[in-house]
């Protein structure tokens, strides 16, 4: 592995200061499951590795005053799925963190790192986007917040400037009669990169009609994409399989996938339709059960 120094600050301010030091080429280390591979393979260079796991704020996993969820950027996947309240309220997020790598990866990998790494196939990003989650970012001049959906700007690119640190991902409260689900397609049963993935969110009114719908697809464009036309086709309707099949067909038009060894364009488009339909079905069941 290339040579570097290591620092483990205990405050966000110290971390930001270390990350902005002009004499260093610094990188953030959360779970390390992406960055250590990149450093070892020399696809990234660093003279200073800043471990952010000792910062209290980044380890926080708690309900917010508004009834949403504060997910610190250094919280591991396995900590997330062990919290019963999260499984209940943010089930699409839990669907995703349970399948990020195997158990050994989940013990270390964070949703913050998954987001910052900005892989088009990242499992946690479509769930974050359907919940309208917000990224809280620490900078040298203070804090800023932005929708997670705007955080990734391209393949392995994000909005963070030098010296900036993702502090947390904040989820809005989970209303009654809402439900969500996430699925990916991989060639093996476990441990593989998605050929395509989808997350869906539905909110029903008292009469059981769809009030709000969100569908986000991954691995079929440089960043996760919203399937807006499919979402519109659902609003005001009663959830049923036929409706979801139509939405699935519309969803696949939002995808602009590439051909590669994992799948062809047509295959990925087809998967978008299937995964949208399936996640909508589960989201509708979960919404109806969430009284």
């Amino acid at each position: 592995m290339q040579d570097f120094d290591y620092a483990a600050p205990i405050s966000t301010n110290d971390a930001v200061r270390l990350l902005s030091d002009p004499s260093q080429k610094s990188v953030v280390l959360a779970g390390g499951t992406d960055i250590l591979v990149l450093l070892r393979e020399r696809r990234r260079r660093a003279t200073l590795v800043v471990d952010v796991k000792k910062i209290a704020e980044l380890n926080e996993l708690a309900m917010t005053a508004e009834g949403g969820l504060f997910l610190g950027a250094a919280v591991s996947c396995s900590r997330i799925y062990r919290e019963a309240a999260i499984a209940q309220n943010y089930s699409a997020l839990v669907d995703a963190v349970k399948i990020i790598g195997g158990w050994q990866i989940q013990s270390r990998a964070t949703v913050g790192g998954n987001l910052c790494n900005a892989s088009p196939a990242a499992d946690s990003i479509p769930p974050l986007a359907i919940y309208d989650a917000v990224a809280e970012i620490a900078t040298h001049s203070g804090r800023r917040q932005m929708p997670v959906a705007e955080f990734c700007t391209g393949v392995c690119k994000n909005v963070l400037a030098r010296g900036e640190l993702l502090v947390a991902i904040i989820f809005p409260p989970h209303p009654k009669l809402s439900g969500a689900a996430y699925q990916r397609f991989i060639p093996r049963n476990e441990m593989d990169i998605a050929v395509a993935n989808a997350a869906s969110y539905l909110e029903l009114d008292k009469a059981g009609k769809i009030q709000k719908a969100r569908i986000v697809l991954g691995a079929v464009a440089p960043t996760a994409v919203r399937a807006s036309a499919a979402e519109e086709s659902l609003v005001g309707q009663e959830p049923n399989e036929e409706l979801f099949a139509i939405a699935g067909e519309l969803a696949q038009q939002a995808a602009s996938p590439i051909d590669d060894m994992r799948g062809t364009v047509e295959y990925r488009q087809h998967l978008c339709s299937v995964l949208s339909r399936r996640t909508l079905t589960i989201a509708a069941e979960r919404a109806a059960a969430n009284k």
């Binding site: 592995m1 290339q2 040579d3 570097f4 120094d5 290591y6 483990a8 280390l29 390390g32 499951t33 250590l36 591979v37 070892r40 393979e41 590795v49 471990d51 796991k53 396995s78 790598g101 195997g102 158990w103 050994q104 990866i105 013990s107 270390r108 049963n189 476990e190 441990m191």
Partner: protein, 158 residues
């Protein structure tokens, strides 16, 4: 060269000190620094699970942990599971069930399985396969490993 750091961690129940460079992995520190060669290097990029150890009770791939991150931590390696030179029932089940051939993957499987049985004493076959998916074996075809884990779980009932 970045300065070596002195790290203190509890390893297999014993407080140990070791020096390492920041760029060294926990796997390197265990094998080269502490002569604990149970954890194996398969892929060195997190994919095979041969280097699995328990870090504060959670299975991790030690090739993707920096040794300096282990400061103050509790680490368990395969060397720590047999007490007083006697194999643990879990190890015995792997041996009797012929759940290994070349044996490179075995320490990793044992550590993940230990963590699994600590949490779920009687896992279903599906749970076993899902939780052990991060450990790869090139030799056995997995069935014998799954049977060995089941045998170990049954043994714990009696």
């Amino acid at each position: 060269m970045a300065k070596k750091q002195l790290i203190t961690a509890t390893i297999n129940g014993e407080q140990r000190e070791f020096a390492c460079e920041p760029r060294q992995s926990l796997l390197e520190a265990l094998r080269d620094g502490l002569q604990l060669t149970g954890a194996k290097e398969g892929c060195n990029n997190g994919n095979c699970g041969a280097c699995t150890v328990l870090l504060d009770g959670e299975p991790v791939v030690s090739c993707l942990v920096l040794a300096v991150e282990a400061e103050g931590a509790e680490i368990e390696t395969v060397e720590g599971i047999a007490a007083g030179g006697k194999l643990q029932p879990l190890q015995q089940c792997f041996l009797e069930g012929a759940a290994l051939q070349c044996g490179v993957c075995t320490p990793g499987f044992l550590m993940t399985t230990k963590a699994l049985l600590d949490r779920i004493p009687h896992p279903s076959e599906e749970e076993i396969r899902f939780q052990l998916a991060g450990n790869l074996c090139r030799c056995t075809g997995y069935d014998k490993i799954v049977r060995a884990v089941q045998a170990a779980a049954e043994g714990e009932q009696t």
